[in-house]
Symmetry: C2
Subunit: 480 residues, 2 copies
């Protein structure tokens, strides 16, 4: 499924999106069409104007690459999205569904008839059908399996066995293999006879009689070597390959590091069963990056920008609840010292500074640790140095910024003892923040959890509670 378009893709696409939106907005086309379902006002609907506009929208979207059409659909509110979806040619729908985000895809499929879904899916490759299966109802899946021939059904079932996040779930099954004892001439004739080569092919996989991986034959070599040469004379032995159950993140790292375009995938018996290509790896990388960005603030993988309010509101609850618990704890820490605050109310105004500076500096440490863990740079050999360094930084910055904060307190409250108290509290909270910033991500990783998700909440919980406790505790002990 290659796609070739003229000139700058980005600009053209934005222009198309704007035009489609404008066409839909004209005369409030959408409300006319959607009102049709409630009260069929035939005279209005049949009006030439509406028909012309719809035909124009259809003409424009027919030229779009499936990925672009998916982009247009995701940028439209629900009503308009369904109007446009109805205008997509049935044979193009499968490819568009594949490109949509999970949230938008599930919503569109929920509104489709079963035979529409089957019609959309029948043009797809087995591995693409497997990608869509999780979005379908059980009934639709069994109807779908009835329409597939035996080979396709078995391929889809094979693909469904690989859990998400494995190389197997990202691979394609269509892999071109040759044997090592044939001439390049034979390979060329085989390729010409074969109907359609995969779009992204930079190597042909060389296997033995049993289908076991022997090496790779780069297309480049096929082009420039004499046709009489045997495959085994020019193949690349010991290529980078993956097992079906390897983690997809390992593939991402290898593709990025070694500039791979395609790599063979083998099963536990070293039999070649598929191919993983750079575009699948890039897509996986983009999805996980976006998911991480949202996970950091406790949001699910993807929230449809146009999901109903109630659904979106609930999507944010888990995070709100967790954060409220930590806020309640911090509040109770303050509550313990109400007597102290009652004697010196300035403490109430100053205490959030101590908590806040601890949270900020701790989150910097967390970000560096998460990056280091993601890049595999942190290991037992350098952990001791890292801890030593972060404590050193926090003491250095604690002295400098503690002095700044103390000066602030001195200016506004003209109390040297209050200023010294602030400075010491800031220093202590920064040291605690740096230790928490190192050990929370490491601890989460050690427990098999994703440090991206929980680190920041836990860190802020600690720096808030400890910030209030240290500051008010010192005040109670020494000042009042």
């Amino acid at each position: 499924m290659t796609f070739e378009t003229g000139v700058k893709p980005g600009e053209k696409l934005k222009a198309t999106l704007d035009q489609v939106v404008e066409l839909l907005n004209k005369q409030d086309l959408v409300s006319e069409i959607t009102s049709r379902q409630a009260t069929p006002r035939h005279e209005l609907l049949q009006s030439l104007l509406v028909k012309q506009q719809l035909a124009e929208v259809q003409r424009r979207i027919a030229q779009l690459h499936p990925a672009d059409l998916a982009f247009v659909l995701e940028g439209l509110p629900l009503g308009r999205r369904h109007v446009v979806w109805d205008l997509v040619r049935p044979e193009a729908r499968g490819a568009v569904l594949l490109e949509l985000s999970d949230a938008v895809r599930t919503r569109l499929i929920a509104d489709m008839q079963e035979n529409e879904i089957l019609g959309a899916v029948e043009h797809l490759e087995s591995e693409d059908i497997a990608d869509l299966v999780p979005s379908l109802s059980k009934h639709t899946v069994s109807a779908l399996f009835d329409t597939l021939d035996r080979e396709d059904r078995s391929e889809v079932q094979t693909m469904l066995e690989f859990p998400p996040g494995t190389v197997g779930s990202l691979m394609v099954l269509d892999v071109v293999t040759v044997r090592e004892d044939v001439n390049l001439d034979v390979v060329l004739r085989y390729l010409r006879r074969r109907s359609g080569l995969p779009a992204r092919i930079d190597h042909i996989v060389v296997v033995d009689r049993g289908g076991i991986l022997q090496g790779l034959l780069p297309i480049r070599k096929l082009l420039v070597h004499d046709p009489d040469v045997k495959v085994q004379e020019v193949l690349v032995p010991d290529p980078i390959f993956f097992y079906t159950e390897d983690a997809a993140t390992d593939a991402v790292q290898a593709f990025e590091r070694y500039d791979i375009i395609t790599a063979p995938v083998v099963n536990l018996h070293d039999r070649v069963v598929g191919m993983i290509t750079v575009d699948a790896v890039m897509d996986y990388r983009r999805e996980t990056t976006e998911r991480d960005r949202l996970k950091q603030v406790g949001l699910h993988q993807d929230e449809d920008l146009f999901a109903p309010i109630w659904k979106s509101a609930r999507n944010r609850w888990a995070w709100l609840a967790i954060n409220l618990v930590t806020a309640f704890i911090a509040s109770r820490v303050i509550g313990v010292f109400e007597g102290t605050i009652d004697k010196l109310v300035a403490l109430a105004a100053l205490m959030p500074i101590v908590a806040s500076i601890g949270g900020n500096t701790g989150n910097q440490t967390v970000a560096l640790l998460i990056r280091g863990l993601a890049l595999d740079q942190i290991h037992r050999g350098n952990l001791g140095y890292l801890v030593y360094k972060e404590i050193g930084i926090s003491i250095t910055n604690g002295i400098i910024w503690g002095a700044v904060v103390g000066a602030f307190a001195l200016v506004f409250y003209a109390s040297v003892s209050l200023a010294v108290l602030m400075a010491v509290a800031v220093l202590l909270n920064l040291v605690i923040a740096s230790l928490a910033g190192v050990f929370i991500p490491l601890g989460l990783r050690w427990l098999g959890r994703d440090p991206v998700f929980g680190s920041s909440v836990m860190l802020t919980a600690i720096t808030d509670a400890m910030g209030f406790f240290i500051f008010l505790g010192l005040a109670a002990a020494f000042l009042i």
Copy 2:
């Protein structure tokens, strides 16, 4: 520069890193070697043991891909890093420097002699030399230009003219072009004569007499079509291409969306001047993702994990200063209401809850907006709906979670009026947080700034200050 290794790359690499670290740790090899510079203790240094260990480290790193060697170097503290760097073969050093992060590369280069640097660079392609130039001193750059022949010098200068973040700065200059009026046979003979095809070649670029882009000839077609066919009969017209000054992010988006492997790059006169390949695009994508992660907490592009404490401490100052200013403002807001708190000290314990829940919910909105902006999903046509939706969510969640917070206040302080006050303050601060969460990223983007950088700080500043102001202000007005 293709690289082929046996078995699982990730595991093998970690094993090598561990072995190198272990070898370096044995007998504290490093302190012996580094002490050599202070007091040359020949008898120790010359000991067979040290020599054997160094030879073993050298043997292991000699087998590594440059990217893996860069990874090993980045994972080593400064002293050990220099010992290993000295063991890297001079002809491999250029490739390793290219793979290092900016911070680590600059540090290593700073400790190299000029002739060492020139020796490392001389094996590189022009576009790779241009990548290293920003890390070199002025004097070294002019010495470097003296060693290059006229063509290479002009190529390096061309590459240096493209600002970072443009397609031009990412492209390679070595592009295979053919004319459209020749037979495939001629193309094949040309490729065989040409010394070495680029590693990642899936298309040959078709140009006219003046070097103007006419289309692409996929290697696939070259393989399967009759050699008598003319290029123009099988070329793909209207291919996706880029201008040298296009934004690299546009290329990232197009490569991800259309599954491109290579695309031609043209100058303003549509003359083909280079090629952009998927591996350069992936590297750019990874670097910007990592930079964004650190930028979110106000850290520079990359901090060497083993940078000296003082340098790392300063790296964190800008962020600390900004956050302290916002904390001071919040503190002054509280300061204004000290009289109110003095009358009802419970307010001091409850006020951080209002500020904190606003910050958390606002940061969720910010994350969704930044994602929407990154994916180009937000435009004038749907902005109104987005604002309406976010306000709707904040009112919904404000009522629900305001009630929870109110219940908390009721339990601990047994005051209905205090509970109602909390609930209303939470509701109001959530609405403000959602508006700030939408308009701060949009405003920064509109001002041409990167919303990833400033959004979260500004949002927290607003939700903190407003949280305290609303809660204490309502208390002063109605409760006391």
